[in-house]
Amino acid sequence: MRAMAASSARFLPAAFGLFCLLCGVAIVEGMLRAGLLNRFIVPLPTEVIDSFGRLFGDEQLLARFLTTVQETFYAMAILAVIGIPVGTLLYQVPVLRKATETWISALASAPIVLMYPLFLVIFGRSPATIIVMGVIAGLPPLILKTIEGLSGTRQSLINVGRSFRLTRVQMLTKIMLPAALPTIFVGLRLALIFALINIVGVEFLINFGGLGQLINDLAERYDMPGMYATIVFVILVSVLFFFVTERLERWLRRMS
């Protein structure tokens, strides 16, 4: 009885959300069929759903998806290798930190995607341009969260380290970084989302690579249902990433 109540409490919001979404889709479908919306611009939701089969078959949606995932993966690996050490360095050198923190915060909220022509010139229409743009987009939040996590280390834990006479490096690797890990992970999650947005965006802009290019292609061919279906797919991918990383983060938090 109680278990049932608990599980319904968990699924009710999700079920309600899905219900609202379906209602919205039904309303759009109705308005299109009634001629209130222009079918030339907005395709029928049923057509959008139907086109998924075609996308997976003719347009190799799965392969496109894997290309984007691969680019994102490389961007994240580079991000972790650069962002966490840079954040640590800035934390350790207060002058550097004071000099750069405002800039990094400003960059975190700037539309970095507009920098793509620069890298297009350097790397050409290649995965490198896309990956670098992902890295640049994810870097500011990761650096800021790394600094935040390190500064938030509880004084009592630092005192334990000092009383056991840890070296500077030991203090960092054995106490401060582990203590900061949950916050750094939030940074990685933000970086992932920023990177993914930019990667798909740049794919679209330079018409190269994974899902972004597919959207560009389909738009140029005026395949509206296919284009919308791909956009829906991109949204589902972001939701999936968000969900998985949130689970991971909760698991990490439980550990600390």
């Binding site: 509880r154 009592s156 834990l157 005192n159 030991q170 582990p178 203590a179 600390s256």
Partner: protein, 278 residues
């Protein structure tokens, strides 16, 4: 009672004092102006002695503890360990902190292994020693839990075991039993006392619990409230080995009453002052 003959005479061939505080003073700059947290405190600790520092909340006990542990560089006066002036954390001193200090990302056993890991003790030996001290503080069976799965008192016992495992020559503890219930406190007090007697470990215990101080100590330093001065040093002349049973003896009651008399004055002054400040 100040003049009672000393129960622990310094051993031959050893320095008379392992730890000395000379005119230790610490001022804090606060919004309401300078605050003297510790005012000109001097005392000596003999090898193997169990010394308690007792005083009302806010009288400067933790401040003194941090100074002795070498964590507060900008104080006046000197702390000497083994004839050496302390300028930072000293290898002979092990500290147990008042605040929550277990590492949340490590299991109980990994927490306790921490100092041994830092000292590069081989893994098998590390685990053996850690298990021994986990058992000693009554946490066997919880080795693989994370601190978040333990109660506050259990976490504090993990912190105690983590410091004990490094077998410091001088053990400093800041209200280590504060989060424990009375029964556990008495039993753990027995355990700590037993270890202390076995290892001849010099122990400095900071507490605001009179029973605990009398049960465990050779001497008790009573501190005053603002400024934090030394009010009196009381020798506790109760026979050893002691267990928590000593609590019910009449001599014990006499000591408790005497120290309570000292503390009541300070505590009520402290309360009145903080009420006036409000």
């Amino acid at each position: 009672m100040n003049q009672t003959p000393q129960s622990t005479a310094p051993m031959a061939g050893q320095l008379p004092h392992v730890l000395s505080a000379d005119n230790v003073t610490k001022k804090f700059d606060t919004a309401e102006g300078p605050l003297v947290a510790v005012d000109n405190i001097s005392f000596d600790v003999r090898p193997g002695e169990f010394l308690s520092v007792i005083g009302p909340s806010g009288c400067g006990k933790s401040t003194l503890f941090n100074i002795i542990g070498g964590l507060t560089p900008d104080h006046d006066g000197t702390i000497t360990v083994d004839g050496e002036v302390v300028r930072g954390p000293h290898p002979s001193i092990g500290m147990v902190f008042q605040e929550e200090s277990t590492f949340p990302w490590r299991t109980v056993i990994d927490n306790v292994c921490f100092p041994l890991e830092i000292a590069n003790v081989p893994k098998a030996e590390r685990l053996d020693k850690a298990r021994h001290f986990i058992n000693l503080v009554g946490l066997s069976g919880f080795e693989n839990r994370h601190p978040s799965e333990l109660s506050g008192g259990m976490r504090q016992r993990v912190a105690i075991a983590r410091t004990l495992v490094s077998q410091p020559k001088i053990l400093l503890m800041d209200e280590p039993f504060a989060a424990l219930d009375e029964q556990t406190r008495l039993l753990l007090g027995d355990k700590v006392l037993q270890i202390q007697q076995e290892l001849k470990q010099t122990t400095l215990l900071i507490t605001h619990n009179i029973t605990e101080a009398v049960q465990l100590s050779d001497r008790i330093l009573v501190m005053t409230y603002r400024p934090g001065k030394l009010k009196r040093i009381v020798d506790i002349d109760l026979p050893r080995p002691r267990t928590s049973d000593v609590v019910s003896s009449p001599a014990f009651g006499a000591y408790v009453a005497k120290i309570w008399g000292d503390l009541r004055e300070e505590a009520s002054r402290g309360m009145a002052e903080s009420e006036r400040a409000r």
